[in-house]
Assembly symmetry: C2
Homo-oligomer: 398 residues x 2
């Protein structure tokens, strides 16, 4: 623990495992105070891969394969052990004594998420969500009180259980005088808009469109699987934008839907990329031209969303970029050039390393729950009211 | 809320749904103080049946049928809604204002339980347990902080996650001078032995053998499904004990295993009953004779366990009977006759109605967790240490 001014910060570990099931992101954070004066910083962040057979089991179960109560029960316990191990390993790596950790926040592994009722694969589904990775096991292995499973409480009050990170953006970036937008360019691009002096109900968030999803898919295709992304935009930089393709892409109906809105692989996944590749073949465009055009497309969808839905509603002075896109100089340059009078910066520059951002977010959400404060953002999730998120599992008495 | 002496009791609702998935038992309790001076009483108890299709889904999923993450996710949310409804309906029925309920404890619906690693249906299973019925939904519907999912925390410290009720027996029946045994005669018979002035580590618990399981199965068979149990022992009372059958039954290896031990349908289920029925046919015994012999068998297994494993280890003055067996005058009379110097009474006589006992137990376990006190009994579950059970879900802010 660390003393700082009149208050004492506590050390909180955040754990996140995304839908790609690559592994467990661990963030070690120091958190202090309470909103509107909450302060948080990442001390350390790392990632720990899942064993291959575990990743395969997660993906199979999450992709809707036949399973059983026994398999899901076991997987919940197995992932609890792996999450607990990840905390222990990360703390050892960074020489952080486990006894100095006051709290753990664990998102868990999503194996089903249906934010609102709908038909999936021909079957009607009620809204529900299922995150596994038994928090009671994390608490027992680490000796640290663990809060897990944050989404159901938002859904219980009518929300979609997602996105939850915008509230953390709000806590981190709210400012009495400066309006800010937190932009995450992951597979999908999403923004949290925080007007100057905003209260929670004044914050809004939505998906701008594709982030790196198309660029990454194109790189895998053109490199025959050797490259997973366009490092430093090196490949795109050797190509040129094809304006007629860019115009075509920007005409997509999604960009004219008013927020709140969200998108994913359904819109911008493999089939979409395939059409781009075919367009390139037909028009004899070079692969680097297609990647350059897709890169420009991602930047322009953000600029487009800014002019349509952000600038008219809030005076924003700063754009804070996180996610893989923050490492793409073409995207960053295009944003800076197009958004006149807006300072474009990265979350890393503000002390939040891009890669630990989500795990860090769940450390902060756990901190809020531990203090029995609501941490959903109804304007982002659609919830009818605020909710205190997560389930508290106390560590065994020492 | 109720004021009582210098302390204030709080109202806690307990929810239980057993493996038969008949429905939801609801107990409304007043609880006061802390161990060793915890006091608790049931104010009201009721049961609410599951809709038939829900019961069928639970049994199918719990019996190992192919399922999916989507189905289990949805069932978790659906049961959460039904548990929440059950609290609201019970409170309306008893004119208990929801706002007067301080806390809810919900066991949930077990859809998988493997207390220790083993092979089930040819497949190796690690220890794990899965109770569903989303507590975040119960908390949102009722506006009451809800603690659910009590078993994983005990398993996380090496226990079998069961039985959990012995600790409640201990809290309710411990006495500085009087040794007591709490006997539950449900499908299986089980005892919690509480020596005079015992500390938690001095309490032990085990399954004595069949409770009503064989009697009930015989009644269903002989009545061609019309009768589910032998009301008031009316049928058995018309028959006679066949001593050679009784001797045969008492020779079962199970009764010579030293506690802790547990049994279930694997030993005393349908196949076992079938052999009794065949014995009766072969020896031309009347159905009433077989039921009478089975009734006597249940009582004698308890007496046998008493002489072998209880009397040598503790001085017991009182036997407190709960469960359906407490309504069976033959069993009660046989226990009273065989246990010289022991007062045989019912939990109802001590203020705990037999039928609400388990739901009441989870109200008490939630109360203990709410106060961050350990509530597992390592001598009963095999855990390596004490554990604070359950997951706390706070109600949304009002």
């Amino acid at each position: 623990m660390m003393l700082k001014g009149p208050n004492k910060s506590i050390r909180v570990v955040g754990l996140m495992s995304g839908t790609s099931a690559d592994g467990i992101d661990v963030a070690v954070a120091q958190i202090l105070g309470a909103p509107p004066n909450l302060r948080a910083r990442i001390e350390h962040a790392t990632s720990i891969h899942f064993p291959r057979e575990i990743r395969e089991t997660i993906l199979r179960v999450a992709n809707g394969a036949a399973s059983s109560s026994a398999e899901i029960s076991e997987l919940n316990f197995t992932l609890g052990e792996l999450f607990g191990d990840a905390v222990i390993k990360a703390c050892r790596k960074f020489r952080v004594p486990l006894a100095s950790v006051a709290l753990i926040g664990s998102h868990g592994q999503t194996i089903f998420h249906q934010g609102s009722p709908s038909r999936v694969r021909g079957t009607r589904h009620a809204a529900s969500t299922l995150q596994i990775g038994e928090p009671a096991i994390i608490a027992a292995r680490t000796g640290v009180t663990t809060i897990g499973d944050f989404r159901p409480a938002d859904m219980a009050v009518g929300g979609q259980g997602a996105p939850l990170v915008p509230f953390v953006d709000y806590l981190l970036y709210r400012n009495a005088k400066i309006g800010r937008v937190a932009l995450n360019v992951g597979g999908i691009g999403n923004v949290t808009v925080i007007p100057p002096g905003a209260k929670p109900e004044g914050v809004f968030a939505f998906d701008t469109g594709p982030g790196n999803m198309i660029i990454d898919a194109l790189m895998r295709h053109y490199s025959a699987g050797k490259l997973r992304f366009d490092f430093n935009a090196d490949f795109a930089s050797t190509g040129q934008v094809w304006p007629e393709l860019l115009d075509l892409l920007l005409k997509d109906h999604y960009f004219r839907i008013r927020p709140p809105k969200s998108c994913g692989r359904e819109q911008f996944g493999e089939a979409y990329t395939q059409r781009l590749i075919e367009w390139g073949v037909k028009h004899r465009a070079r692969p680097a031209d297609i990647v350059r055009t897709a890169t420009s497309f991602t930047a322009l969808t953000i600029v487009d969303a800014w002019h349509r839905y952000i600038a008219p509603r809030a005076k924003i002075r700063q754009l804070i970029v996180a996610g893989g896109g923050a490492h793409n100089p073409l995207i960053m340059a295009q944003l800076a050039a197009a958004l006149d009078g807006v300072e474009v910066t990265t979350s890393a520059a503000l002390g939040v390393p891009e890669d630990g951002k989500e795990a860090f977010a769940f450390a902060i959400l756990a901190y809020e729950t531990f203090h029995r404060r609501a941490a959903n953002l109804p304007s982002a999730t659609g919830a009818k009211q605020r909710a205190i998120l997560g389930k508290v599992c106390y560590a065994p008495p020492r």
